[in-house]
């Protein structure tokens, strides 16, 4: 089996300061990988470097494209990369406002990616938007409402629908449950888990919440000061951490 994503020695510097460095891993279709670490550990820098929002200073991010097989997304042309990010990739921001168009209706938000890849039939766009609202548990009577009228949890679910409507294969998530109430988080986690399984999605989830990765991620990567200090099976890393920092991290949590 070809890995969906092969990350080889990726490094991103901020001047002399290390953003992240020496990161390598393979992600296979259907796998969910968590990246944990405290603020400033380089996990968001890594995510953005992988998703093409930042250009890594070193290394390769090889994605198994539908058309041409494995291609290094760092060196591919910008139009190709942007096309990827509209079709096969999705990015779920921590703040839904960063990932939604707040002045456009929920239906328009979901439909945008369809129209971006050439769908020109209003009826079918709307039908798929309604279908996706249902899948993320938003009443389809809200299809013409703007996201500014939605609660935080609904906005986050709308963002997910907007991202998944084109059937991406790889989803990047930056603290997807951050800033939400615990009960809303649980609902979102349940939803994400279901979608990951149904659609066979691969995902990379950055979070500082160990409970979130325990429930969502198959594998875990622990970062500190820009370096990966430990990686492995999620429950193994959490229950039998090998690195001192991970042990500290796990023991600092009130209860996972």
């Amino acid at each position: 089996m070809t890995p969906l994503l092969q990350v080889k020695n990726v490094a991103k510097m901020y001047g002399a300061r290390i953003g992240c460095t020496d990161v390598s891993f393979d992600l296979y279709p259907g796998e969910v990988m968590g990246i944990v670490g405290e603020s400033g550990s380089g996990k968001s820098t890594l995510l953005n470097s992988l998703a093409g929002h930042l250009t890594p200073d070193r290394g390769e991010v090889i994605f198994d494209t539908r058309a041409d097989g494995p291609v290094d997304t760092v060196t591919m042309s910008e139009p190709q990369r942007r096309m990827l990010s509209r079709t096969d990739w999705a990015f779920v921001h921590q703040h839904a406002r960063d990932g939604l168009r707040m002045s456009v209706s929920a239906g328009g938000n979901i439909g945008e990616r369809l129209m971006a890849v050439g769908d020109r039939h209003y009826g079918s766009i709307r039908e798929r938007a309604a279908d996706w609202l249902g899948r993320v548990e938003i009443a389809d009577s809200r299809i013409d409402d703007r996201p500014s009228a939605f609660s935080g949890g609904m906005q986050q679910r709308l963002q997910i629908a907007r991202n998944l409507v084109t059937g991406p294969r790889l989803v990047f998530m930056d603290e997807p449950t951050g800033g939400l109430d615990v009960s809303v988080q649980a609902r979102l986690l349940d939803l994400l888990r279901g979608l990951v399984r149904e659609m066979g999605l691969s995902a990379i989830i950055v979070t500082h919440d160990l409970a979130v990765v325990r429930l969502l991620a198959d594998r875990l990567m622990v970062m500190k000061d820009g370096h990966v200090v430990e990686s492995g099976l999620t429950d193994q890393v959490l229950d039998d951490p090998q690195h001192g920092y991970t042990q500290l991290l796990v023991s600092s949590v009130l209860q996972v």
Partner: protein
């Protein structure tokens, strides 16, 4: 006319603007940045169009200026006087006799010919601005032909109004490449943009010039199930009886009486002179 350089602008400025125009013609629909000058009129009164006209005019030209189709509104009159004074060119109200036509918000009803130039005044040249406020991003979207957002705007129209409610400044795709704002002309005029004359667009405040060369393909964006329609008020002109022209609605009194008249005053006048007459044609004449 003696104290002004021909057509107000200095020769260097006109050369700069002509280079932008030529580039615009070479890349139809592409917005060429130019160093817009301060003009002796406020923004919104056609400073972009005036600069393009100034760079286009030759002493032999005959100029016509229309505002919403009419030759006799304030904006049209003042710009026409401006060029009479600073360029000394002949002016006309007859579409067929003009070699350069500066327009705000309309395309003349009469078909234009290959020896004519139509200059549009443009308030906001960026069709993507409605949904994407970042200039860096809209430029990238044009460069990469990422025009899905344009349809989001039309989608919003249909979802809110049941039809594409955009009635003016209706976005078009030029020669299968750039999406362009045709300036706030009614969408009724959109099909006319595939014409024999050169079309130049000037946005003074936004400092952009763009162009559509003669016989260029101009397609109005739409959905398969909501095709583009060049609509107008469903009436004949009350003065000249024309059924094919774009109409203005005029309220006549407090009792709700109204009339519909051609917005193109020259077209209406020439039809009446040729003997056509509408519902109120006799008494008005």
């Amino acid at each position: 006319m003696s104290d002004y350089n021909f057509a107000y602008l200095d020769e260097q400025t006109k050369r700069m603007i002509r280079r932008a125009i030529l580039k615009g013609l070479a890349v139809p629909g592409y917005q060429v940045p130019f160093a817009s000058r301060e003009m002796p009129m406020p923004y919104g009164w056609g400073t972009g169009g005036v600069q393009v006209s100034a760079a286009t005019l030759t002493p032999e030209d005959t100029l016509k200026v229309i505002d919403q189709g009419a030759d006799d509104t304030t904006n049209a009159v003042s710009i026409r006087k401006f060029f009479e004074r600073t360029a000394g060119v002949a002016t006309t109200e007859e579409t067929a006799k003009a070699s350069v036509i500066q327009t705000r918000h309309r395309i003349p009803e009469a078909e234009l010919s290959e020896d004519q130039i139509l200059v549009y005044q443009v308030p906001i040249p960026e069709p993507l601005r409605f949904l994407e406020p970042r200039e860096t991003e809209t430029r990238k979207m044009h460069a990469l032909q990422e025009y899905g957002l344009m349809h989001v705007k039309l989608y919003e129209d249909i979802s809110q109004h049941g039809a594409i409610a955009t009635a003016y400044a209706y976005p078009v795709k030029v020669e299968g490449r750039y999406v362009m704002d045709p300036s706030p002309i009614p969408k009724f005029d959109n099909p006319k943009m595939e014409m024999a004359a050169i079309q130049l667009f000037g946005a003074g405040r936004e400092q952009r010039i763009y162009a559509v060369p003669p016989y260029t393909k101009v397609v109005s964006l739409d959905f398969e199930d909501y095709p583009f329609e060049a609509s107008k008020a469903d009436h004949p002109c009350d003065l000249c009886g024309a059924e094919d022209s774009y109409l203005d609605e005029v309220i006549l009194d407090d009792a709700g009486n109204r009339m519909f008249v051609c917005s193109d005053t020259d077209y209406c006048r020439s039809r009446r002179e040729a003997g056509h007459s509408g519902r109120l044609g006799e008494e008005a004449a």
